[in-house]
C-alpha cells in the first residue's frame, strides 16, 4: 500500500472512531491519537522522501500512484508528493495536533466539533497529495464546508454573518478555480486525450490566449483562499468569529491551500501567462502587504489584529510566487510554513487569553505577562516571529523573499520590493503595540487576578508550535534542502522555452 494513502486513511478512521464513540473524553483521546499518529506518519514520509532523494530518486514527484475513479471524464485518484507538498503536509499535521490540544476544554457538542476538525484536516491532506486537478478541487471543497459549521455553531460575536460571508467568498474562489481547471481539461483535449493530471498538463504547451484567461481565473480563485486583495474581507470577520481551533486552521492551513494552488496550479501549469501577467499580482500583493499592515495598526481586537496581519503576511506569499525567481519561490513556500505555524501560535495564545478574560480588546487587557507568564510568553514569541526576528521562522522566509525579489531588476519590481521591506517597520509598530497594551503593563481588571496559567494541553500545543518556529528559524538549511530542488524545478519550468509534448 502506498504510504500517502495512509495520510487520508488515518483521518478517515479517526473520524469514524469519533462518530461511534460515546464519551466526550474518549472522543478527545481518539482525535488526539489520530492527529499525533498523522504527524508521525507525516514526519516518517518526509524522512523517507529525503532518503529516497539522497539515494538519487529522480522525478518531480515521489510515491506516485493512480487509481481510476471515473473513467468517462478521465478522473483518476492520483497522488504524489514533492518537497513542497510534504512541507505543507507537515505544517497541516502540526497545526491539527495543536488545534485539537487547545480545544480540550470544549464542552458543547464535543463529538460534532472534533469530527468536523478531523474532517477538515482530511480535506487539507487530500489536497496536498493530489496530483489530479479534479481530486484536488474535490478536497479543496471538502475543506470549506466544515468551516461554515465550525464558525456558525461554536463561534462568537456575529458568527452567522461571518460564517456565511466566509463560506460564500470561499465558494466564489472555488467557482473560479473550478472554471479554471475545467478550462485546462478542455484545453488539454487539443493534444489528444483530455486530462486532469498535473504532470501531464505541465508538459503541454497551451496557446497563450488560453493561458491568460486560465491564469487569471486560477490565480484569483486560489488567491481568495489566501486573502488576495480585494477578496480578503472574509478573513477578519471569519477569524474573529471562529473558535480558536478553527481560527488556527483557517489561517494556518486554509490560507496555505490557496498559496499552494497559486504556485502549483496557476503558475506551474501556465508559465507563459505567469511571466506575462504576474505583475498584476505583484501589485495586489504589495497592496496586501502595506495596506494590510496599516489596517492592522488600527485594530484593537487582538483577533482582528492577527487576521489583518495575516493578510499582510500572506501578501509575502503572493509576492514571492509572483516574482518568479528561484529564491522568491522558495521564500514563498517558507513563508507559508512559517506563517502557518506562527499564526496558529498567535491564535492559540489569543484564544487562551479570551477563554479567561472573555475579551480580546487589547486595551481592556494588560499585565498578562505577570498574571499568566506562559501565555504571555507564547504571545510575545508569536509576535517576535511575526515581526521577523532572527532565530524564528519569519526572518528566514521574509529575507529569502526579499533577496529573491531583488533579483528582478526594473523599477517596478524594486518599488514593490521596497514597499514589502517597509512593512517590517509597520509590523514592528503593531506587534509592539499589542504586546505593550495586552501583555505588558499592569492588570486593569480585578477579575483578571484570578486567571490561571496555561493547562497541560495548552502548554503542549504552544510548545509544539514554538518548537516549529524555532526549528525553522535556527536550522533553515533543513527546510531548504527539502524544498530547494522543487523550487528550481518550478522556476525552470517557468522559464524553459521548449516544451516537450
Amino acid at each position: 500500500m502506498n504510504i500517502l494513502s495512509l495520510l487520508i486513511l488515518i483521518p478517515l478512521v479517526t473520524a469514524i472512531g469519533i462518530l461511534i464513540s460515546k464519551k466526550d473524553q474518549t472522543i478527545k483521546l481518539i482525535a488526539l491519537l489520530g492527529s499525533v499518529t498523522q504527524l508521525g506518519v507525516a514526519i516518517w514520509t518526509t524522512l523517507l522522501y529525503m532518503s529516497l532523494r539522497k539515494a538519487g530518486a529522480t522525478g518531480d514527484m515521489l510515491f506516485q500512484s493512480t487509481i481510476k475513479w471515473f473513467s468517462p471524464l478521465h478522473i483518476f485518484f492520483s497522488t504524489g508528493v514533492d518537497g513542497i507538498s510534504l512541507t505543507m503536509i507537515l505544517l497541516t499535521a502540526m497545526v491539527v495536533v495543536a488545534g485539537i490540544l487547545v480545544s480540550w476544554k470544549i464542552v458543547f457538542q464535543v463529538k460534532e466539533f472534533f469530527f468536523l476538525i478531523v474532517f477538515l484536516s482530511l480535506g487539507a491532506f487530500g489536497f496536498f497529495i493530489s496530483t489530479d486537478l479534479f481530486m484536488l478541487f474535490f478536497f479543496l471543497e471538502l475543506a470549506v464546508i466544515p468551516k461554515y459549521l465550525l464558525i456558525g455553531i461554536w463561534g462568537s460575536g456575529k458568527k452567522e454573518y461571518s460564517a456565511m460571508k466566509l463560506a460564500l467568498m470561499l465558494m466564489f474562489g472555488s467557482a473560479l478555480v473550478f472554471l479554471g481547471i475545467v478550462g485546462l481539461y478542455y484545453a488539454s483535449a487539443a493534444f489528444g486525450v483530455p486530462t486532469w493530471n498535473l504532470q501531464q498538463l505541465s508538459h503541454l504547451k497551451l496557446p497563450i490566449e488560453t493561458q491568460r484567461v486560465l491564469y487569471i481565473l486560477l490565480f484569483t480563485g486560489f488567491g481568495v483562499f489566501t486573502a488576495l486583495f480585494p477578496f480578503h474581507t472574509w478573513a477578519p470577520d471569519g477569524h474573529s468569529s471562529a473558535p480558536t481551533a478553527a481560527s488556527m486552521f483557517l489561517a494556518g492551513i486554509s490560507m496555505k491551500l490557496g498559496g499552494y494552488g497559486c504556485l502549483r496550479v496557476a503558475t506551474y501549469l501556465l508559465p507563459d501567462a505567469a511571466r506575462e501577467l504576474s505583475w498584476i499580482f505583484i501589485i495586489l500583493a504589495s497592496i496586501m502587504i502595506i495596506y494590510g499592515a496599516f489596517a492592522t495598526m488600527m485594530q484593537k481586537d487582538l483577533k482582528y489584529m492577527n487576521a489583518y496581519s495575516s493578510v499582510s503576511h500572506c501578501g509575502f506569499v503572493i509576492l514571492g510566487i509572483a516574482m518568479l525567481t528561484k529564491a522568491a519561490i522558495m521564500g514563498a513556500v517558507m513563508q507559508m510554513v512559517s506563517h502557518g505555524i506562527m499564526t496558529a501560535l498567535f491564535f492559540a495564545a489569543i484564544g487562551m487569553i479570551y477563554d479567561r478574560a472573555h475579551t480580546r480588546q487589547a486595551d481592556e487587557l494588560g499585565g498578562m505577562l505577570k498574571q499568566v507568564p506562559f501565555i504571555g510568553t507564547a504571545f510575545i514569541i508569536a509576535g517576535l516571529t511575526s515581526l521577523g526576528l532572527p532565530g524564528f521562522s519569519g526572518f528566514v522566509s521574509e529575507m529569502t523573499i526579499f533577496v529573491g525579489a531583488w533579483e528582478q531588476t526594473g523599477i517596478f519590481y524594486r518599488v514593490a520590493t521596497i514597499l514589502a521591506c517597509a512593512s517590517i517597520v509597520v509590523t514592528a509598530v503593531y506587534i509592539l503595540r499589542a504586546i505593550g497594551l495586552a501583555i505588558w503593563g499592569s492588570i486593569q481588571n480585578k477579575e483578571h487576578l484570578k486567571f490561571k496559567d496555561a493547562s497541560w494541553s495548552e502548554r503542549t500545543a504552544s510548545i509544539l508550535l514554538i518548537a516549529g518556529v524555532v526549528f525553522i528559524g535556527v536550522f533553515p538549511f533543513w527546510l531548504i534542502q527539502l524544498i530547494q530542488n522543487d523550487s528550481i524545478t518550478i522556476f525552470n519550468k517557468i522559464y524553459s522555452a521548449a516544451f516537450a509534448i
Partner: protein, 644 residues
C-alpha cells in the same frame, strides 16, 4: 588550549547561559542565577583575553600586518548560487578588540547587577536577557557575512527592547522600549535595502569577498556599481549610505538619536552595558567594517558621515548641558561621544598617512567603553542611594559615597580629555586627524570637547558638591562589594587604557601606524577643557543663583536645548498625525467600509435579485400555464418571422 575553540566558546557560553536561565530559571534561586551569569561572563572575559593575546602576539600577523583569521564558517541559508547567509566567526583587529570590550564590560555589569538588581521580581530573567544580549553582540562583531551581521543586529535590538522594557508594568518603560525598537527598526530598513543593493551589485554577501570586489581597481562589480548615479552620488554611495542609516539608528546619530535618552528607562546597569559601551557603537563598528569600501570607492559617502557625526557631536553636547536627569545627561553625552568616533572615521581615508582617523576612532571606542560604563555604574550607585534620577535630589554626596565619588571623578576627567587619563589620548588622536583633513570638523570637535568637559563637571559638581555633605556622614556603600569592585576595576581602565600603543595593534589595513601626538597641538584642547571645568565649578561648585540667571538670560536657547530642540515633538507629529491618522485610520476605514461594503453589497444585491424573481416559482399552476402559453406564442412568433 586551542584559540579557535576558545573563540567559539566565547560565543557559545553566553548563549548556553541564556537558554539555561530562561528555561530552568524558575527551578533555581535568584542569587544562584546571578552567580551563574556572572561566572560565565567572567569566564568569557578571560577567554577573550586569551584569544586577544593569541591573535595580537601569536598568530594574527602575516608579513608584518594583521590579517583576518576565520575560526569557523558554514552556509546557513543558501538563497541562490551566489548569495547565502553564512554564519561564522572572524578574528581581526577590530573584532578581537570588540570581543575584549564586550566581554569585559558585560562581566562588570553582571557582577554589579547582583547587588543592584537584588530582590527584583524577575531577577533570573534579567540575567537571561543580559546573556542573550551579550551573545548577540558578540555574534555581531565576529560576523563574516553582511546578513549575519544584520541578524545579530536585530537580535541585539530585541534584547535591548526586552531590557529597556524590563520594568514592564511602568507605562514609560513600555513606551521607551517600543520607541527604541521602532526607531532602530526604521533605520534597519535602510540597512536591509542597502544590503540588498550591495549583494545585488557585488554578487556576494561575504564581507571580505565584498570588500575585495568593491575596492579592487578595474573590478567589474565596482564598475557596474559606480556607472549609474542618482542626485550626484553613485549607486554604491547610496547603498553604503543606506547601510550607514542602519548604523546611525543603532548609534543614535542625528536625527535617529531620539530613542537613546528614553532608553534610560531600563535598569541602570543595562544602560551601562547596552546604551553606553557596546550596542550603541555597533554603527561605528559597521562603518569600520566596511571602511575600506567607503574610503576607496565612496569617499563622498564617507564625508557625509563625517558631517553628520560632527553635527551630532555638538548638538547632543549642547542638550546635555541642560538636562536635569543624570542618566539623560549621560545618554546625550554618549550620543556626542559616539559621534566623535563617527566623524573620526569620516575624516579618514585609505592609505598611509590618511587612515589614522580609523585608528583614532577605534581607540576612542575602546577608552569610551571604560569611562562611560564607569559613569553609568557610578550613576547607578548614586541613584541606588538617593532613589531618584533628578539632580535636584542630589548634592553633597562625596562623603556618603566615597568610592563612587572618586571613581566618578576619574571617569569625568577621562571623558573631559585631561591628561594623562584615557580619554585624553583617544580624543587627541581624533582631533589631530580631523585637523589634518578637515578644519571645519576640527573646530566643531574642539568646541564640543570643551562643552563635554563643562557638562560632565556640571554633573559631577551637582551630584557630589553643590550642597554641604550630609551631616550624619553616613556611608551608603556598606554592603555593596559587588557594586564597588566593578567601579574600581573600570576606573583602572579609565585611567590607564590610554597608555596602550593602539596604533601598533589596530589600523585600517592591519599595518602598525604611529598615532600623531604633538605636545603643542594638545595645549589648546586641554586648556579649553580646564577652562570649562573651572566654569562648571564657578557655576555649580556651590549652591548659587548664578546658573538660573544665566539660563534666563539665554532663555530661548536654553529652553530649546532643554526640550531637546523639539525633535521628539516632530517625530510624534509625524507618527501620530500622519502615519496613524492619515494612513492607518483611513486604511482601516476604507477596508471596513468600501472594500467590505462592496462585498456586502454584492451579497445583498444577489438577495434582492432573488427576492424580485422568486415570484416566478410560485407553485401556482395557473401562472406556470400562462408562462407556458406565452412561451409557445413567442416561439411561434419567432418561427413566423423567420420563415416569412
Amino acid at each position: 588550549m586551542n584559540y579557535d575553540l576558545s573563540a567559539v566558546l566565547i560565543l557559545i557560553l553566553p548563549l548556553i547561559s541564556f537558554i539555561g536561565l530562561s528555561l530552568f530559571g524558575k527551578r533555581i534561586k535568584p542569587e544562584l542565577s546571578g552567580l551563574i551569569g556572572s561566572v560565565v561572563l567572567v569566564a568569557t572575559a578571560v577567554l577573550s583575553l586569551f584569544v586577544a593575546y593569541g591573535y595580537f602576539f601569536d598568530f594574527g600577523k602575516l608579513d608584518g600586518a594583521y590579517v583576518k583569521h576565520i575560526a569557523f564558517q558554514f552556509s546557513w541559508l543558501q538563497f541562490n548560487e551566489n548569495l547565502s547567509i553564512d554564519l561564522g566567526l572572524v578574528l581581526d583587529p577590530i573584532s578581537v578588540m570588540m570581543l575584549l570590550v564586550i566581554t569585559f564590560v558585560s562581566a562588570m555589569v553582571h557582577i554589579y547587577s547582583m547587588n543592584y538588581m537584588h530582590g527584583e521580581e524577575r531577577f533570573t530573567m534579567y540575567y537571561a536577557y543580559l546573556s542573550l544580549f551579550t551573545f548577540s553582540m558578540l555574534g555581531l562583531v565576529v560576523s563574516v557575512n553582511l546578513f549575519q551581521m544584520y541578524m545579530f543586529w536585530e537580535l541585539v535590538g530585541v534584547s535591548s527592547f526586552l531590557l529597556i522594557g524590563f520594568y514592564f508594568t511602568k507605562p514609560s518603560a513600555i513606551a521607551a522600549a517600543k520607541k527604541a525598537f521602532i526607531v532602530t527598526r526604521f533605520a534597519d530598513l535602510g540597512f536591509l535595502i542597502g544590503i540588498l543593493m550591495l549583494s545585488f551589485g557585488a554578487k556576494t554577501l561575504d564581507f571580505f569577498v565584498l570588500i575585495e570586489r568593491l575596492t579592487a581597481t578595474g573590478s567589474p562589480y565596482l564598475a557596474g556599481f559606480t556607472s549609474t548615479t542618482f542626485m550626484g552620488l553613485s549607486t554604491l554611495s547610496w547603498a553604503l549610505l543606506l547601510v550607514f542609516a542602519g548604523g546611525a539608528g543603532k548609534s543614535a546619530m542625528f536625527p535617529l538619536h531620539i530613542w537613546l535618552p528614553d532608553a534610560m528607562e531600563g535598569p541602570t546597569p543595562v544602560s551601562a552595558l547596552i546604551h553606553a559601551a557596546t550596542m550603541v557603537v555597533a554603527g561605528v563598528f559597521l562603518v569600520a567594517r566596511l571602511f575600506h569600501v567607503f574610503a576607496v570607492s565612496a569617499p563622498d559617502a564617507l564625508s557625509i558621515i563625517a558631517y553628520i557625526g560632527a553635527f551630532t557631536a555638538m548638538f547632543a553636547a549642547v542638550i546635555a548641558c541642560t538636562q536635569t536627569d543624570i542618566k539623560r545627561v549621560l545618554a546625550y553625552s554618549t550620543i556626542s561621544q559616539i559621534a566623535f568616533m563617527m566623524f573620526a572615521l569620516g575624516v579618514a581615508g585609505w592609505g598611509e598617512g590618511q587612515n589614522e582617523g580609523f585608528t583614532a576612532s577605534m581607540f576612542h571606542l575602546f577608552t569610551h567603553a571604560f569611562f562611560k560604563a564607569l559613569l553609568f555604574l557610578g550613576a547607578g550607585a548614586v541613584i541606588h542611594a538617593v532613589h531618584s534620577n533628578e539632580m535636584k535630589d542630589m548634592g553633597g554626596l562625596r562623603k556618603a559615597l566615597p568610592i563612587t565619588h572618586v571613581t566618578f571623578l576619574l571617569a569625568c576627567l577621562a571623558i573631559a580629555g585631561i591628561p594623562p587619563f584615557a580619554g585624553f589620548f583617544s580624543k587627541e588622536a581624533i582631533l589631530s586627524s580631523a585637523f589634518e583633513h578637515n578644519k571645519i570638523i576640527f573646530y566643531v570637535g574642539l568646541i564640543t570637547s570643551g562643552i563635554t568637559a563643562f557638562y560632565m563637571f556640571r554633573l559631577y559638581f551637582r551630584i557630589f558638591w553643590n550642597k554641604a555633605p550630609h551631616a550624619d556622614g553616613h556611608n551608603h556603600e556598606g554592603h555593596t562589594w559587588s557594586m564597588n569592585i566593578p567601579l574600581i576595576i573600570l576606573s583602572l581602565g579609565a585611567v590607564f587604557a590610554g597608555l596602550i600603543p593602539f596604533g601598533s595593534f589596530i589600523s585600517a589595513d592591519g599595518k602598525a601606524i604611529e598615532l600623531p601626538f604633538h605636545l603643542m597641538f594638545s595645549i589648546a584642547p586641554v586648556l579649553i577643557g580646564v577652562t570649562a571645568i573651572l566654569l562648571a565649578w564657578a557655576l555649580y561648585g556651590k549652591k548659587s543663583e548664578l546658573p538660573a540667571k544665566l539660563s534666563a538670560s539665554i532663555a530661548f536657547l536654553y529652553q530649546s536645548a532643554y526640550h531637546k530642540f523639539y525633535i521628539d515633538e516632530i517625530y510624534l507629529f509625524v507618527t501620530k498625525k500622519i502615519l496613524f491618522n492619515l494612513i492607518g485610520r483611513p486604511a482601516a476605514w476604507f477596508d471596513r467600509t468600501i472594500v467590505n461594503g462592496m462585498i456586502n453589497a454584492t451579497a445583498s444585491g444577489t438577495v434582492s435579485v432573488s427576492e424580485s424573481i422568486k415570484g416566478m416559482q410560485s407553485g401556482r399552476l395557473q401562472t406556470y400555464a400562462m408562462f407556458f402559453l406565452g412561451g409557445i406564442l413567442m416561439l411561434a412568433a419567432l418561427l413566423v418571422i423567420k420563415f416569412m
